[in-house]
Every structure is written in structure tokens, then in C-alpha cells.
Subunit: 369 residues, 2 copies
């Protein structure tokens, strides 16, 4: 009797002509089995052959947790002192149909090279292919329960941001503001951080992946870019707002309003029937037709859910059609290197007739500190 949880994976494998796929701990694993494990130096791998029972390779010290999955196939555990080779051999013996397999799909953006090497050793005749997109496609359309979990992550994040802004003072370092933000995220009920937050002021705001500095005191007139998110039950908020400390120059105000228009435009055009390309194209046009065209640096956004960066990528050239239940970020930015960066990022869900922005934190230019 087939485990119904595996049905979407069987379907995805069939459409991609895959004879087997392997899962490691992470978003796809969690969506499939309802809970997750640590991705660590001890391999934990689930192999799903097409239309047959899966097999698992599990570190012995995770066996009690693994038992809670009600895994529908044989499990081969291994202990630190003996190493994992024998468990891989046993798993391969339990899957004779894969020896002749032509196509073994891997979560190539998640699985590490050493795990593939271990698989290759026991499946020497298989052809390993990057099936990350295929496997992850089963997570593309979010269920209403998933939307609610992400919404909860966003509510926590926005409350934490408001509480943080109350405590921001000109002269604090980026590190100090970061520490306040993180404390507030957990105080509001975050189960974790979606990623290490970006808290960047002044010239640092112009670096899209800046690290918070402990040796720079924020100054009046600085931009303050905060890109952050709480995770809640595995779902990851990803929000950016940019503020100005105390005052803002006329030029920076026009710079900000250009990004705000691009952000608004990206949301306006979003509805089923258009493509990810169309959304990015609309957003980039706003930036390209502005006086700040030369300062655009990146695509509009990315999908969001159990992974912080997942499909659909909102970029020119991605002709994926939008469908209700897709969730992605709209996060245009402009970056004058050495001076000032502005990014405004919302998390939106495609609905039957348009979109809903799950993020509601105001986007009006705001002076803080």
C-alpha cells in the first residue's frame, strides 16, 4: 500500500523521467515527511524509487526521532564507530531496480558532494542528474495551512521590526541595532531566523549582502536598510524596509520613491496568467526609466516557503506562469556604491484574481532615530 505522502514525488519523477530520487534533510524532506533533521556531517538520506517503497540511511543517534516519521520502507542505521559505508551498501541491495537505472535525481542545491560520492559508490551504474527543480516543484503551490504559517512568521517579524525601530538611536552601530532586532524576533515568538539579518547603514546599505559593522556609528542622514525575517514552524519570512536616520536629502527621497514605485508596480501586475518574467520586466522598467537606472543590480525576487530562496525566481527569462498559491518576494533595490542603498521587499501570494501582500508594514518613507 503506497504511502500517500509520496504521491506528489512519484508524479514529479514520472514527468521528469526519473527512476529514483534522493532526499537529504531540508525543505523538501520536511514537506514530504512533516518534520526535519539537521543537515550535518553524518549522512541521513532517503531514496525514493519510482512507484516503490523508499529506503532510508539514518545515523543511529537519530533513530528515535526518525521513528516518529512512520517511514514506509526499510531503514538502515549506522554508528559513528563503524561509519556509514555498510548502510549505503545495504540500501543499494534493497533497491535492485536502481542498479540498472538510467536516471537518479538529486537535490543538487542541497545535497553535498560527499553524499553524492557515497551514493555513486553503491550505485555505480546510475546516472546522477540535478533534479532540484523537479523535486522542489512539489512545493511550488502552497496549501492554505502553509500560507497561514508564513503569515504568522511575517506578523512576528513585523512586530519585532516596529519594536526595534522604537529603540533605534542615531549613533548606534549596525551591530547594536542587529542585536536589538534579533532579541525582538525571539521575544515575539520566532522559532528561528530565516537567515542572518542584514542591518546596514550609510554606505554599507549599498552592498546588497552587507554584514553589520561594530565599528561604524550611524549618522544623521544615513539610510538604514534592514533585511530580515522570523521563521515559524519552518516557514521563512523575508522582509526588507529602508529607513533614514533623522533626515533625508532630496536626492535620497527621489531614490527611495523610485524603489517604492517599482515595488508597487511588481505587486500591481501580479495575477494568474502572467509569468515570472512579466513581473520582473515591469519592475525593471520602472527602475530603468528612472533617473537612477544605472543603480539597479538584481532581479525582482524569489519564491519563499520552507526555503528562503526557492522557485519561482522572479526574473526576466523565467517564463513560469503564475498560479494561485505561489508565494514570492517583490524586492526591487537601487544601490549607489559608497553612498546609499534602498530595497523594499514584500512577500506576496498569488490569488485567484490577483495577489495578496502578506507583509503589511508601511512602505512610506520614514525617518527613525
Amino acid at each position: 500500500m503506497t504511502d500517500q505522502r509520496l504521491r506528489p514525488i512519484y508524479d514529479a519523477m514520472k514527468s521528469a523521467n526519473l527512476d529514483a530520487v534522493a532526499f537529504v534533510p531540508g525543505p523538501n524532506f520536511k514537506r514530504l515527511f512533516g518534520r526535519d533533521f539537521h543537515l550535518m556531517e553524518r549522512p541521513l538520506i532517503v531514496i525514493v524509487p519510482s512507484e516503490a517503497d523508499p529506503v532510508a540511511i539514518v545515523p543511529n543517534l537519530e533513530m528515535a526521532s526518525f521513528a516518529t516519521l512512520k517511514f514506509p520502507g526499510p531503514v538502515f542505521d549506522w554508528r559513528d564507530e563503524a561509519g556509514y559505508d555498510a548502510a549505503f551498501v545495504a540500501a543499494a541491495e534493497a533497491l535492485p531496480q536502481i542498479s540498472a537505472s538510467k536516471s537518479f535525481g538529486l537535490e543538487a542545491q542541497r545535497m553535498r558532494v560527499f553524499e553524492q560520492i557515497a551514493l555513486q559508490k553503491v550505485f555505480p551504474d546510475a546516472t546522477f542528474v540535478d533534479a532540484h527543480a523537479t523535486i522542489s516543484s512539489t512545493r511550488l503551490l502552497k496549501t492554505p495551512e502553509e500560507v497561514e504559517k508564513l503569515r504568522r512568521a511575517i506578523v512576528i517579524s513585523e512586530k519585532a521590526l516596529e519594536a526595534t525601530l522604537d529603540l533605534v538611536r542615531i549613533g548606534q552601530t549596525e551591530k547594536e541595532i542587529e542585536a536589538i532586532l534579533i532579541s525582538q524576533l525571539f521575544a515575539q515568538g520566532a522559532s528561528g531566523l530565516s537567515f542572518d539579518p542584514i542591518v546596514a547603514a550609510g554606505d554599507n546599505s549599498a552592498q546588497p549582502h552587507a554584514s553589520a559593522r561594530a565599528d561604524y556609528k550611524t549618522k544623521r542622514g544615513d539610510a538604514l536598510l534592514i533585511d530580515f525575517g522570523a521563521s515559524y514552524e519552518g516557514y521563512n519570512a523575508d522582509i526588507t524596509r529602508t529607513f533614514f536616520l533623522g533626515e533625508v536629502s532630496d536626492r535620497d527621497r527621489r531614490f527611495y520613491e523610485t524603489v517604492r514605485s517599482a515595488n508597487a508596480r511588481g505587486k500591481e501586475v501580479t495575477r494568474p496568467g502572467i509569468t515570472a518574467h512579466d513581473v520582473d520586466d515591469s519592475v525593471q522598467q520602472v527602475l530603468e526609466q528612472s533617473e537612477f537606472a544605472e543603480f539597479a543590480r538584481h532581479k525582482t525576487g524569489h519564491g519563499l516557503g520552507l526555503d528562503v530562496h526557492e522557485a519561482p525566481q522572479i526574473m526576466r527569462g523565467n517564463h513560469t506562469g503564475l498560479k494561485p498559491g505561489m508565494i514570492f518576494t517583490v524586492e526591487p533595490g537601487l544601490y549607489r556604491l559608497g553612498e546609499c542603498g534602498v530595497r523594499i521587499e514584500d512577500d506576496i501570494v498569488v490569488t485567484e484574481h490577483g495577489h495578496e501582500s502578506l507583509t503589511t508594514f508601511p512602505r512610506d518613507l520614514r525617518l527613525v532615530g
Copy 2:
């Protein structure tokens, strides 16, 4: 003129007969260049050929940050809209000596499969090997500056633990205690978390990698196992203490004292000249000769530094000789499934004549709440 930062890598490559190695963002990258980048869906790779200038493949939006590295070789950037294929082709053309290479080493526990696939495409004649241990061996002996950074991470962690215990009350959930701990870590100056903390009470403490529950109220007599650490400038504390809530049974007290003896024994025997195997063997003997022998589940520990789990693995069969400057955890545990788990974990550095425990938080059995 050779960049002196690359000298340790050239030496390691020579000893392992590698013609090239590739780095992705992470601990080895940070040790080599002094700063780190995000490991994300956008590949950022540095290729170091033996005794020649390295080449980098960098997402365009990271170029400003990358410039701060003073990278001693050509850099090929790529943009989202065009993809990264052309940058890989250009990098391969800049490295004609690798086309004929027999051995291309990868950080196999860090690099993802899709990055290897991209390399394979442009270096079709190279033989890719797992060089994780070789590359990471350059981080095995810590400098005094590194020891001080880890010590700082530990001071932050231990202050946060003490502050957390002041706020623990019987009846709180594991999630509530976890939120307090994380807030305290950042309040004390953590730059990040070494890993998602484990806060596990009662039967959950017997699962070595438990997740904190929001639906279980802690009870009098429960064990409370806390495994956590602050990171500071990239260096990761990793500390475990186990407490009891309000009271402790005689059996649990003996259980605790057995682990404490094993922890003490592991530190006592540590000195240059013995091996990682010897340390684990001494620790396991304490557990095996106790009345609780059947409840031992894992090796003694692992190396610690820029990575939370690195060499040397402190386990039977690892005959690596200990040398001054090595840092590792001593973390014996006993786990009665469904009932109670105890683990006591210290971070120690091998010194000229023995060891120093960087963790100093008391190990006496302590009742809290």
C-alpha cells in the same frame, strides 16, 4: 608574487597530490581570505591551482564585497539575467593547466552537487576527489588569536546560560526556555548562534538532537538538557549542560555522575602525544564500565572553530595525534529513551603539556526552576 595567505593551501595540496582545489563560502574560505560570504543558490567559487594564482567566479551583486579580499587573481562575475555558465567557461580558460589535471579536490562536505556539476562541465578531464579533510587540515591548529575569539564566544555563551537559568521556572515549555536563551545570547553580544540550540526536558532530553516542544510543560524531576553556543567573529562555542528541575531521583543522580566522570576523564587524559582514539576510548570505558553501559550512544566529540563540527573527530579509530592548538569538544552522554538524557560538553584546547578547558561553567549537579 605569491599571496602568502595561499601558502598553507599549496602545502596541503602538495601533500595530497592535488592539482587544484575549489573553495565555496564557509569556514575554509573565511580562514583563507579573512571574511566570508553567504552560501546560496548563486555560486561563488574560488579555484586554486597548485602553485599558481587562483581564479574566482563571483555573482555580480557580491563584487563590491569581494573587492575587499584583495583577491590575487582574475575574477569572473556573472549576473542573474545571464546566468553563471559563461563565468565558469572563462574561469576554465584562465586555468589551462587544469584541463589535463588528474586530481581536482573539493570541499565535499560543504560544496553542493550543483556546484560540482558546473565545474565538471568546464573541466571534463579532471578527476574530482573529496579533499574536505585535506583543505580543512589547514585549520586544525588554532592560532592564539583564534583561541581568544572562541574564548570570547564561550564567555558570551556561559553568561547567557546563567542569565537563562535565573529565569527558568517549572511549567515553562522547552520553546519558552529556548526563546529566553536565544535572547540572552544576543543580549550578551553573540554575533550569531553556532547552531539552533537544543532545549530538551524530560523524555525529550534522551533524544540527542531533540527539537524544543511548544506543547510540553516541564515537570518537577525532569532533566533539562541545554546544548547551545554563541558564535563570535565566526568562531562557534558548543556547550552542553544538563540540569534537573526542582528535584532529582537517586537513579538520575547516579546517571548524571556517570556522565560527569566520563567528561572529567576525557579532559584528564588529553595531552600532546596521545590520539583522538585514546581520548574516546578512555571516555567510553567510563561509560561501559558503569551500570548504565547500555545507554551510551555516540562518540566523545569533534573539533571546533570556524565550523561547529570539524576535525579532529574524537572517536575510536581516529589515530590522529593530538597537538597543541587543537580544539575539540568532550561531550559524553547517556540516553535512557523515553525517560532521561544527560550530556555534559566542554570545549578544550590542547596545550604544551595537557589541556585547558575554555568552558568553565560548573558541572556539579544543579537543581533549577
